[in-house]
């Protein structure tokens, strides 16, 4: 019942948007107004003055000469991958590991220590964090965006805490959406299939005045359940609807403003075990949880000169998860208010400084159930931060970067996260870089305030995990060395190697026969190699390959954590243009076995055919997971041990129309 209602709700949002947009486009009509003047209407002399790229804007170095293990997913990659959710898109990144433990739970990790709520990687969209300080991780199942509006996704593996703050221990994912100026006009897309049951999206972009552009969008999608297994028959499908807007204004004096916001509502079908420690009668709970949220952010930026600029950002983000249970309900509410200021300038020749300050306030409120109790149920946390970094041009082809982040938080107090990086670019086709950095993962509210009652499936014995207010930060010291080469225009190779040393890793130790308590008893190290190679074989065929090798050695706590990520991963993606309007895109992903979860190695094959009969219409047909009828990708964490799902072969068709 709930489910039906929700589906209907989502469609209503869409229909409403369509109605709004039709009115909008009609009112605009085809009457050319002065504001519609575009490049096409410029006189020839002015066209001749347009530069492909103005040199003054490219203050920074490009990806090729970045002293970090960075990878960029472009809009083209998104379009040619056939993936339909943010977590799935990250399969394309060498060094990352994406595995589904069931239909609506993704485990996304970077350089090991995989878990559903991955505590060691920051994820943000247009500068707004998607990493929850409550349970330290990302709710991938309800984290969505209009895929067509993504400009690019930048992924940095390894610590990036000096600039991005705590918890950027093993990586950062930065999703950057397009400027509203670049999403003018209408877009309507939709499709249906066996696993991707149905999806639809609509976006419209227009102009408010000469310098101000906007877009509004709405989308809805439904995923089918997988081949679920567990203590009872259950489903793991989901439905998610989201709508939002973005306004961009660029002033004459190099000032830009952005205002954007989103609202979403997701239905997540799930199962859990509910037990009380005394009785241990273990009732099974099957339910649809609701994840809902909204956010609004404002961004202001001013270029002061060719070498200096300031920017300020503020956002508020609200999330709610509601889980109806047979007797009561679990609910968590989070509000994050964040201010961020940054100033970059060049004081003396050869030095580029950037510094900034930030403040974040996190409000949390829960409705507890016996199985899951946060005490107190109402908390406010404050984090104050500052950072400074200097890029020193030692020689024209040798740059050294020194910087640190300083943070003050309510739980562990003062934290410092410095880094030192060096990059040598003897010419534009070679780059060698190296870094040493320190980062911390501050304890989440789950560590500090959370009390869980879990069940050992084999024995049906309940046990608890209790909070620890003396929990410390997990620490990493990372050493990295990378090399990039572009021997020809058509070929590029990027190799990154790393050695991570971890101290005070999160663990849980027994305090009595049925009780574990969070602590910091694990330490160890990880090392590995990540390779990305791109090869443009001809103007119509491109191959992208990736290889990941990871080895971990942990001591203390649950040592099986070192085996919860594949040792080898390999991928080949092929972008082939058969004719100017017919594309054949395919991807092969190989995942080595995961000993800790008893998962055997498997290979995933996706193939898609895309046809553009006109420039405004695109039809595509995708087959996903084509090599077997179903396979398990990941064994659920102990917190979600009631059941899992095997991922099935899927087929879907999609239509995209520009108007």
């Amino acid at each position: 019942m709930t489910r039906f209602n929700r589906v209907k709700g989502g469609r209503q949002v869409l229909l409403f948007l369509i109605a709004v947009l039709i009115v909008e486009s009609e009112s605009n009509g085809n009457v050319p107004s002065e504001e519609d003047i575009s490049m096409f209407a410029l006189p020839l002399e002015q066209v001749m003055d347009i530069e492909v790229i103005s040199a003054s804007r490219t203050q920074g170095q490009d990806v090729f000469s970045s002293p970090a293990a960075i990878y960029v997913i472009t809009q083209e990659d998104i379009r040619r991958s056939g993936h339909r959710s943010l977590a799935e898109l990250l399969r394309m990144v060498p060094g990352l590991y994406v595995a589904r433990s069931d239909g609506n739970k993704w485990n996304v990790s970077s350089r090991g220590i995989t878990e559903r709520f991955y505590r060691m990687m920051l994820v943000q969209i247009d500068g707004r964090t998607a990493y929850s300080p409550m349970f330290a991780g990302v709710t991938w199942e309800s984290f969505d965006v209009m895929l067509e509006d993504i400009e690019r996704i930048e992924i940095i593996r390894g610590p990036g805490a000096t600039l991005w703050g705590a918890n950027a221990v093993n990586g950062i994912v930065n999703i950057i959406t397009k400027n509203a100026r670049n999403t003018q006009g209408g877009l309507l897309s939709g499709g249906a299939g066996t696993e991707e049951r149905g999806f639809g999206a609509i976006r419209y972009g227009g102009k408010l005045d000469q310098n101000t552009f906007y877009r509004v969008y709405g989308k809805y999608s439904e995923q089918d359940k997988t081949a679920t297994y567990g203590v009872a028959p259950w489903t793991d499908d989901r439905g998610i609807g989201q709508t939002g807007f973005r306004i961009d204004r660029k002033m004459e004096d190099d000032q830009t403003f952005t205002l954007q916001g989103d609202f979403y509502d997701a239905r997540i079908s799930d199962l859990s075990l509910s037990a009380d420690v005394a009785g241990g009668d273990n009732p099974i709970e099957i339910y649809d949880s609701t994840n809902r949220g909204w956010n609004i952010s404002g961004h202001w930026k001013k270029q002061l000169s060719d070498t200096s600029g300031v920017q300020f950002q503020i956002y508020y983000d609200r999330t709610q998860k509601h889980v109806p249970l047979s007797v009561s309900y679990w609910q968590e509410n989070n509000g994050i208010l964040d201010y961020d200021f940054q100033h970059d300038f060049c004081l003396v020749d050869g030095h580029k400084f950037v510094w900034g300050v930030g403040y974040r306030r996190h409000d949390m409120k829960t409705h507890n159930v016996e199985k899951l109790t946060y005490l107190p149920d109402n908390t406010t946390l404050h984090t104050y931060s500052g950072f400074i970094q200097d890029t020193i041009e030692v020689l024209p082809d040798l740059n050294v970067i020194l910087g640190t982040k300083l943070e003050l938080n309510d739980h562990t107090g003062f934290e410092y996260q410095p880094n030192a990086r060096i990059i040598w670019t003897p010419n534009e086709n070679h780059a060698v870089w190296s870094s040493i950095s320190r980062a911390v993962r501050v304890p989440s509210l789950a560590n500090y305030n959370g009390n869980f009652i879990l069940t050992v499936l084999d024995t049906n014995m309940p046990y608890r995990i209790i909070n620890n207010t003396r929990m410390q930060s997990e620490k990493i010291l990372a050493y990295e060395l990378g090399y990039r080469i572009r021997p020809a225009d058509a070929f590029s190779l990027d190799i990154a190697t790393f050695y991570h040393e971890y101290e005070d890793l999160e663990s849980a130790s027994q305090v009595d026969p049925v009780t574990l308590q969070w602590d910091n008893d694990q330490h160890g190290h990880a090392h590995g190699v990540e390779v990305a190679a791109n090869w443009q074989l001809s103007t119509s065929w491109k191959l992208l390959t990736g290889y990941t090798w990871l080895k971990m050695d942990l001591s203390g706590g649950d040592e099986s954590v070192e085996d919860n990520t594949p040792e080898h991963q390999f991928q080949v993606r092929s972008y082939l243009d058969i004719t100017a309007n017919l594309e054949l895109n395919s991807a092969l992903y190989f995942y080595d076995n995961v000993p800790a979860g008893g998962i055997s190695d498997y290979t995933r094959l996706d193939v898609g055919l895309t046809w553009r009969p006109t420039n405004r219409l695109e039809l595509s047909l995708w087959g996903q997971n084509l090599l077997d009828s179903q396979h398990p990708e990941y064994t659920p964490d102990i917190f979600f041990a009631g059941g899992g799902g095997e991922i099935q072969k899927g087929l879907y068709g999609a239509v995209k129309l520009l108007f």
Partner: protein
């Protein structure tokens, strides 16, 4: 917003990291605007005749029935057509003007995407033919096929005008410029506005070779065997 691509320097902004793809997209957006302008700065013989059919000069005169079909096709009296041969790198650049009336010409712009070169496809059904760099190897047969037809040939491939093409788009200091070979323009009966000629980086008249010579040897042989007459050379911006 805040972007990680600039990690070495700082948390910089969106527009600071133009990937090669973005750069190319922008380059072709500008090239699209040029093609749109060329339509307005060129005059086709049939426009004066007001019939909409190709003049008899076409290399392979089509039978009457086919001619009628063409009348209803892209060369309709009230439309003007850009043909794109080979890989279409323009992306969404033409969206804004495609299928819309060009005010100065009072004609609807039609874009035909021919795909990779295929000698069986009639590429003469357009007013302006843009030959993508993906067809560099087929330039000779392509130009032979449209030779004598009133088609403005444009490309962005080095050596295009030396091979017998009319306008070649080139990059000069991050700006798009063009060079013109007047010989094929005259032969096809086209007229180019003086603005187009005046602002060209290079205007040349390369004498044509006999068919026999055309069919052999690479393009640079021309300049060796025939004197290239440079009418004017203009620097960049």
């Amino acid at each position: 917003m805040l972007s990680a691509g600039e990690l070495p320097i700082g948390r910089a902004q969106e527009n600071n990291t133009a990937t090669p793809e973005q750069r190319q997209a922008m380059e072709y957006e500008i090239k699209a605007v040029y093609l749109y302008n060329f339509l307005q700065f060129a005059a086709w013989p049939e426009a004066e005749k007001d019939t909409g059919t190709k003049p008899d000069a076409a290399q392979n005169p089509a039978p009457d029935s086919e001619k009628k079909e063409k009348d209803t096709d892209a060369l309709k009296k009230n439309t003007i057509c850009i043909g794109i041969l080979g890989q279409d790198l323009f992306g969404e650049s033409f969206n804004e003007v495609e299928e819309k009336v060009i005010p100065s010409l009072k004609k609807k712009l039609v874009i035909k995407r021919f795909g990779p070169y295929d000698s069986k496809v009639d590429i003469t059904r357009c007013h302006l033919l843009f030959i993508s760099s993906s067809e560099e190897k087929n330039l000779k047969p392509i130009l032979a096929q449209v030779k004598d037809a009133p088609i403005l040939t444009v490309a962005d491939t080095a050596g295009f005008i030396e091979t017998g093409g009319m306008i070649n788009l080139i990059m000069k200091k991050n700006k798009v410029r063009w060079e013109i070979n007047l010989t094929p323009v005259r032969r096809a009966g086209l007229r180019l506005d003086s603005q187009l000629i005046r602002n060209a980086v290079r205007v040349v008249e390369i004498p044509e070779l006999s068919d026999k010579e055309t069919s052999q040897g690479p393009a640079h042989h021309y300049s060796k065997d025939n004197r290239v007459t440079v009418v004017s050379v203009r620097g960049g911006p």
